[in-house]
């Protein structure tokens, strides 16, 4: 009896001691995936989320009809297959899965799809993604497992835009819970592999495994905790010490060293939608002259920037297409890529043959990638042909406000988008789009070429159109394109089934812990 009592006391004491010293061991062992992200999202609502890092969590809660896989291919998700598209490209018929239920137990159906899209498209609800879906005319429900999208005009990129920029939620859930619920505590309103648990702003976000998830065999983790760690060196320390198993955006200058660290893998992939460029206002001096814009484009040594400033985390390109993309037009790119003699010749032909002075806005703190050092190097490159560039550090909201209002002269900015080749072309160079005023450029030939691209879905038909679009833009040079963001992640050896996503966001669903 006394032995039993002593044993119990010893066990209790050991348990207390363990709790005091290492409570992480005292709790039941579970499979928790820890990731470290640089940014603090402002919302979990798929209609309002613009934070690509935070989407690592919100995209595990909400799903859409289609998704883009890690290699950038559009594949079915809540739909059984890719849609059937009518000959006039104005109708897309989606057959939906019949085995999906929301995290609150409600069965997923076509009514939910119609409700979600109608809610997003209603201007009263002020979804930040409304403008990219505004070609949807109406949505009709044919049966619980079939929904039809009627478009105002052919719109191929609709398929690409679905994954990141929209999610499906249950019919009536907005009226039941309110928008704040979706923004802060979206429990039970998604169909994804992760159920929302907790979000402490500036600290961490947590989801747990959805036990009724419709895909069999995933997720294999019990929880995902995303820590918000803004300092890049500290993110590396989290990885080194095991406090995080995957980190986003490791510091470029440490990538080579990290790759040599035992037990750590570094992966990189060019984001085909991650354009880095100098947005120039074609109505403001000195960018009101095409030859001046071309002189700037030809004076910038993008390869040097990519290697010496970004340590390979930028893939250089002088046109709005990544050189890794199948639609890249090398011929068009060659006409405005780095060539100092050609830069001087363009400058001599311009209205400003002896050079000019302009101000460049640079986001500070940085947005997505740190371009501040690159701005200084570009400043010296332009000085070589007599162009004086003044750098103005501005906060991101001010940068966006002046760009969208068309007040800026020039802005150095990355924009992250789906991998669709026409996304940036649409929003920047077509009339009445989100960033049309950033260039104040328009060209009916380009507008028609983009509209033509929306009528096709096969690459063999699209390729000549994409090449034509890049050739037109290289000729008019409304902006100075610099390259594409190379997404980098680093992860520990216990992480299995993980690969870098072309869309910047860490994709947690299939990750296993070895």
């Amino acid at each position: 009896m006394s032995i039993l009592r002593r044993s119990l006391l010893a066990a209790g004491g050991a348990s207390l001691g363990l709790h005091l010293l290492r409570p992480d061991l005292a709790v039941a062992a579970d499979r928790t995936l820890m990731i470290a992200l640089p940014n603090n999202p402002t919302t979990m609502d798929p209609l309002q989320n613009s934070n690509h890092d935070g989407m690592a969590i919100s995209n595990a809660i909400f799903e859409n009809l289609l998704e883009v896989d890690l290699d950038g291919n559009v594949v079915p998700s809540l739909a059984c297959a890719l849609p059937t598209i009518s000959d006039d490209q104005l109708t897309m018929i989606f057959d939906l899965r019949d085995d999906v239920q929301f995290q609150n137990g409600a069965k997923f159906s076509a009514e939910d799809v119609k409700y979600s899209y109608d809610y997003m498209l209603d201007s009263k609800n002020r979804s930040i993604r409304r403008y990219i879906f505004d070609r949807i005319d109406s949505i009709s429900v044919e049966s619980p497992t079939q929904v039809v999208f009627h478009l105002k005009a052919p719109f191929r990129p609709f398929l690409q835009y679905q994954t990141k920029f929209m999610g499906i939620f249950p019919k009536g859930s907005r009226e039941q819970h309110g928008d704040a619920y979706f923004a802060n505590t979206p429990i039970g309103v998604g169909t994804g592999p992760g159920i929302f648990v907790d979000w402490t702003p500036n600290d961490q976000m947590e989801i747990k495994r959805n036990p009724t998830y419709w895909r069999k065999g995933v997720p294999v983790w019990d929880r995902v905790i995303a820590k918000i760690v803004p300092e890049e060196s500290v993110r590396v320390a989290y990885l080194s010490t095991g406090q995080a198993q995957i980190i986003s955006a490791p510091p470029p200058h440490q990538l080579a060293e990290l790759a040599k660290t035992p037990g750590v893998t570094v992966g990189r992939k060019t984001a085909l939608g991650g354009l880095w460029f100098m947005q120039t206002n074609n109505l403001r001096k000195p960018f009101d002259d095409v030859n001046f814009r071309k002189a700037v484009s030809c004076a910038i040594d993008r390869k040097k920037l990519a290697e010496d400033v970004f340590y390979g985390t930028i893939s250089p390109s002088a046109v709005p297409a990544a050189r890794e993309a199948p639609w890249f037009n090398a011929e068009a790119e060659a006409t405005i890529s780095y060539d100092l003699d050609r830069a001087k010749a363009y400058l001599a032909k311009s209205k400003y043959p002896t050079g000019a002075e302009f101000s460049l806005q640079v986001p500070n703190p940085p947005y997505l990638i740190d371009t501040r050092d690159a701005a200084v190097v570009i400043q010296s490159m332009l000085a070589a042909i007599g162009i004086k560039m003044n750098i103005r550090s501005q906060e991101m909201p001010q940068v966006l406000a002046s760009m969208t209002a068309g007040n800026h002269v020039a802005t150095l900015l990355p924009l992250m988008a789906p991998s669709d080749p026409t996304f940036h072309v649409q929003i920047c160079y077509l009339p009445d789009q989100q960033q049309s005023k950033s260039s104040n450029y328009s060209n009916p030939v380009l507008t028609n070429a983009v509209a033509e691209s929306y009528r096709h879905t096969e690459m063999k038909d699209l390729l000549p159109i994409y090449h034509k679009i890049q050739a037109i833009l290289a000729e008019d040079c409304p902006h100075v394109w610099l390259g594409y963001v190379v997404v980098a992640n680093a992860w520990r050896e216990e992480v299995k089934n993980f690969a870098v996503n072309t869309g910047l966001t860490i994709w947690t669903r299939d990750v296993a812990l070895g």
């Binding site: 005091l20 402002t42 500036n202 320390a237 406090q243 406000a401």
Partner: protein, 310 residues
């Protein structure tokens, strides 16, 4: 000035700070509507947002409404996500307060013995070490010191975690481990300041006539030190109290480096998000803490030097 007068002047100061703060925050060029609604928000969207949040009202009306709410304990709701600000401050304030208190105690625990030793053994090896600590303390920026400590103690030695705030409920030792490096980072600068102040103040006191007389009367060294220290600590208390207030500012950097979700980090986020009410609420809380530290310093000053109360 009497206690009542002192408190009244602090209250007036708080009101003045609230006016200046309100004016400065509303002078920021970019509208919060644009930050919250995104760049494609139409003029109608922005007008509706401003109307819903009272941002279209005259500034004087907005100010009185805000102050009225504060007097009732209502900090308002966040412009970013429409959640109440009060509970968010209540959740993050204890974290920052603990960091500052620990940093303050660390600074006092190291600085005062170091300052005393330097004063008693001038130009000895210990005085040289104290001088070196002081030079490093005032020269090394907090963010750099924090990163160095993480590199040494978390990455190389694996003794301490590189960041994050572990709650008390998750264990006493894990909590203290998580606070150790941030505490040293937030307090190290003030080790330098307070130790130098202690040294010079005690050095002066030890040269006073009453100390010489005490020595001549044959009083013990430790007894003399107690008398001298009581006089020498008066300016140290003032500096220490000011340091306590300033540490709330340092916490902003330290919370960022060590990934601690305290009130200072919430302030930084609110500034970037143009969350006016959140910024105003947090800055006012920090101001109140600063004033409270000064009032406490006044009180201690009088305790140490009763002639001031006479």
């Amino acid at each position: 000035m009497s206690w009542l007068g002192r408190l009244a002047s602090s209250a007036v100061m708080l009101v003045l700070v609230s006016v200046v703060l309100f004016g400065l925050v509303h002078a920021i060029p970019v509208s919060p509507a644009l930050v919250v609604l995104g760049p494609d928000a139409s003029a109608d969207d922005i007008a509706q947002f401003d109307h819903e949040h009272g941002l279209d009202l005259p500034l004087a009306t907005q100010y009185t409404s805000w102050v009225g709410g504060m007097l009732r304990g209502d900090f308002g709701t966040s412009l970013q996500d429409d959640t109440p600000i009060g509970p968010r401050i209540a959740r993050t304030f204890p974290i920052t307060l603990e960091l500052v208190v620990l940093g303050f105690l660390f600074a006092l625990a190291v600085a005062i013995p170091l300052g005393i030793a330097s004063a008693l053994w001038e130009d000895s090896w210990i005085d040289h070490i104290a001088r070196l600590v002081a030079v490093i303390g005032v020269s090394v920026p907090a963010f750099w010191l924090g990163l160095l400590l993480i590199s040494w103690f978390a990455v190389d030695l694996r003794w301490l975690p590189p960041g994050g705030f572990v709650q008390w409920r998750e264990g006493v030792w894990p909590h203290l481990r998580s606070m150790l490096l941030p505490t040293v980072t937030v307090g190290f600068y003030y080790v330098a300041i307070i130790s130098r102040m202690t040294r010079s103040s005690l050095g002066e006191a030890m040269a006073q006539d009453y100390v010489r007389t005490a020595r001549a009367l044959g009083l013990g060294r430790s007894r003399i030190l107690v008398y001298a220290l009581k006089n020498a600590l008066t300016p140290v208390v003032t500096v220490a109290a000011m340091s306590f207030g300033y540490m709330f500012g340092w916490a902003l950097i330290v919370e960022q480096v060590f990934n601690i979700a305290g009130m200072s980090r919430a302030l930084l986020t609110a500034i970037f998000q143009r969350d006016y009410l959140m910024v105003q609420g947090i800055v006012l809380v920090i101001t109140a803490m600063f004033l409270l530290a000064n009032v406490t310093a006044d009180w201690l000053y009088r305790v140490l030097n009763p002639r001031l109360s006479a």
